[in-house]
């Protein structure tokens, strides 16, 4: 026997859990932190749906998930989880890569923190979900040119924040 509320939450979870986890994991890099964000997001989602169901659930979930993940990254005071991960890793090269990834995530989160809500979700939708500008514009109720402007501004902020990584990778090619 289930309640309407339980059924509603379960249905939404079934539809979007992987997306929420994927966005959170990409920005956090830790399974448990990502699960915590999933839990937080769905609690908020359930509360939100008691008042008004968002017209674009996936857009709402993306925005809340990314905002929550950025908060978690900003709130990290110790690297205990990272140390645990490194302890489990096999060899210095793996440890170096883990440290680099953690630092890069922190920089990406810092850059995302400087963006507006809309810029942030446009960037995530484009970079990680590979949505088209038309899809993004429809999802967030803006014009395509506005979506493109948000994207360019967001990428510039990220680019400025990640400049210190420039000497670590290869020369980019034309997309």
């Amino acid at each position: 026997m289930t309640t309407p509320l339980a059924n509603f939450v379960a249905t939404r979870f079934e539809q979007h859990a992987q997306d929420v986890y994927g966005w959170a994991y990409r920005l956090l890099g830790r399974h448990h932190d990502a699960l915590d964000v999933v839990q937080d997001v769905f609690l908020r989602w359930s509360k939100q749906c008691e008042q008004e169901v968002p017209s674009v659930p996936r857009g709402w979930l993306r925005r809340v998930t990314v905002n929550r993940a950025v908060d978690v990254v900003r709130g990290r005071r110790s690297d205990r989880g990272l140390v645990d991960d490194i302890a489990e890793a096999d060899g210095a090269a793996v440890a170096d890569r883990a440290i680099d990834e953690e630092a890069l995530r922190a920089d990406v989160a810092a850059a995302l923190n400087r963006l507006t809500d809309v810029q942030r979700v446009v960037l995530i939708a484009k970079v990680y979900d590979e949505m088209t500008f038309a899809q993004i514009a429809a999802e967030h109720g803006v014009s395509m040119s506005t979506a493109k402007t948000h994207y360019l501004r967001a990428v510039r902020v990220v680019r400025d924040r990640l400049r210190r990584w420039d000497d670590r990778d290869t020369t980019p090619e034309i997309a």
């Binding site: 059924n7 939450v9 999933v38 359930s46 489990e88 484009k126 493109k148 990220v158």
Partner: protein
């Protein structure tokens, strides 16, 4: 093509949506203008760095569909083990155990706050016989549990926090 016109096409190019009809002009300006070339390349680099962050391994739709067969009526609460290394299947299991926890916690929270609906599962009210609600909401209890143990909050910690009032 002016640099302003190039700017308009740069979003398309960065987003992988540059039209074939614009490509020649875009690449022509890119070869001609060192400033725009540097700007574009640095932005491509930023996007590539973002994409270099490893994503989730929990992407198998088939596994997800299989794991979705949770019984929301029973609401069994389970913790999750760290780094068990059992791959995506166990990962989705943990994810859905979380869902079960949330459902269970919601049911319990409604009952404890005296807001239970008549159609709640019959096994949930048994919790109220021993519970001493303190007025702390489920949300604040979860936040409290999370603060006590970041990255490891569990249903039991949340319920403990809710009953103890902090």
């Amino acid at each position: 093509m002016s640099c302003d016109d190039f700017e308009m096409l740069m979003a398309d190019a960065l987003g992988g949506e540059l039209a074939d009809s614009d490509r020649a002009q875009f690449e022509g300006h890119l070869a001609f203008c060192a400033t725009c070339r540097g700007e574009y390349q640095s932005m491509v680099g930023a996007v590539e760095k973002m994409r270099s962050l490893p994503g989730s391994s929990l992407v198998s739709e088939a596994v997800a569909r299989e794991a979705i067969s949770i019984d929301v009526g029973e609401g069994r609460g389970h913790g999750h083990g760290r780094g068990n290394g059992r791959g995506s299947r166990s990962g989705m299991g943990a994810l859905y155990r979380y869902a079960a926890c949330i459902l269970f916690a919601f049911g319990a929270g409604y009952v404890l706050r005296g807001e239970a609906r008549s159609e709640l599962p019959v096994d949930v009210p048994t919790i109220t016989e021993t519970a001493k609600p303190t007025g702390v909401t489920l949300e604040t209890a979860l936040v409290s549990a999370h603060r006590k143990k970041p990255g490891g909050s569990s249903l039991s910690m949340a319920m403990t926090a809710m009953f103890s009032g902090n």
